[in-house]
């Protein structure tokens, strides 16, 4: 599973992208976020307020209930501020 981080999530986590292989219990976006939080202080800090974290799976916005499958591209980022 490919993970991408943008804006201050990237800055706090310290990497822009990585490939991970979470355990089978991580079956939804919500479970992935909880699993990521426990990977280190940068992750914990970046994900401490999930109301300002948006998630896209395969480049579409999804809710935390969205199921995950191997090979998904999952991106975490703050609310967008373009235009």
């Amino acid at each position: 599973m490919k993970l991408l981080y943008f804006a201050w999530l990237r800055a706090k986590i310290g990497i822009a992208e990585e490939t991970v292989d979470p355990p089978p219990s991580v079956a939804t976006v919500g479970a992935l976020l909880e699993w990521l939080k426990r990977r280190g202080p940068g992750f914990a800090e970046a994900l401490k307020d999930l109301s300002i974290v948006r998630v896209a799976v395969n480049q579409d916005y999804v809710p935390t209930s969205h199921p995950l499958k191997p090979g998904d591209e999952v991106a975490l980022f703050p609310p967008v501020t373009g235009g």
């Binding site: 943008f6 480049q59 991106a75 980022f77 703050p78 609310p79 967008v80 501020t81 373009g82 235009g83």
Partner: protein, 150 residues
Amino acid sequence: MIRVQREDFDAGAEIERLARGKHGIGGVVSFVGLVRDAAGGERVGAMTLEHYPGMTEKKLAEIEAEARRRWPIEDCLILHRYGRLEPGERIVLVITASAHRQAAFEACEFLVDWLKTKAPFWKLEETPAGSRWVEARAGDDEAAKRWSAE
């Protein structure tokens, strides 16, 4: 039409290109967004626009398709820049062309409102106190919601 690029653009040339040879077009509305030199009372030196290549193009294409579904527009362009931009520089260009002006106005405003809340761009501002990520404005969400009921 969708374009995501680092380079500047020429709004007049794009308006001209969009309307050329299509003599059913009666009105062309354009929006140019510029970098301001102040935000929340603080001086801003420059900003860097980060985006999510791939998803940006996908979302902009979806927004364009939605505008074409809602209004009888002859053609439209959404052009968004990324990279470092200084005050006064152009960030975004949206153009809509239609037989009648009201469709062009509404579609243009819709495209700008929606791209601000759906296209994956993030602004990092340089201020005298250091760099800071711009926070999403509640007003932008409100503006986008105006179009939801339709």
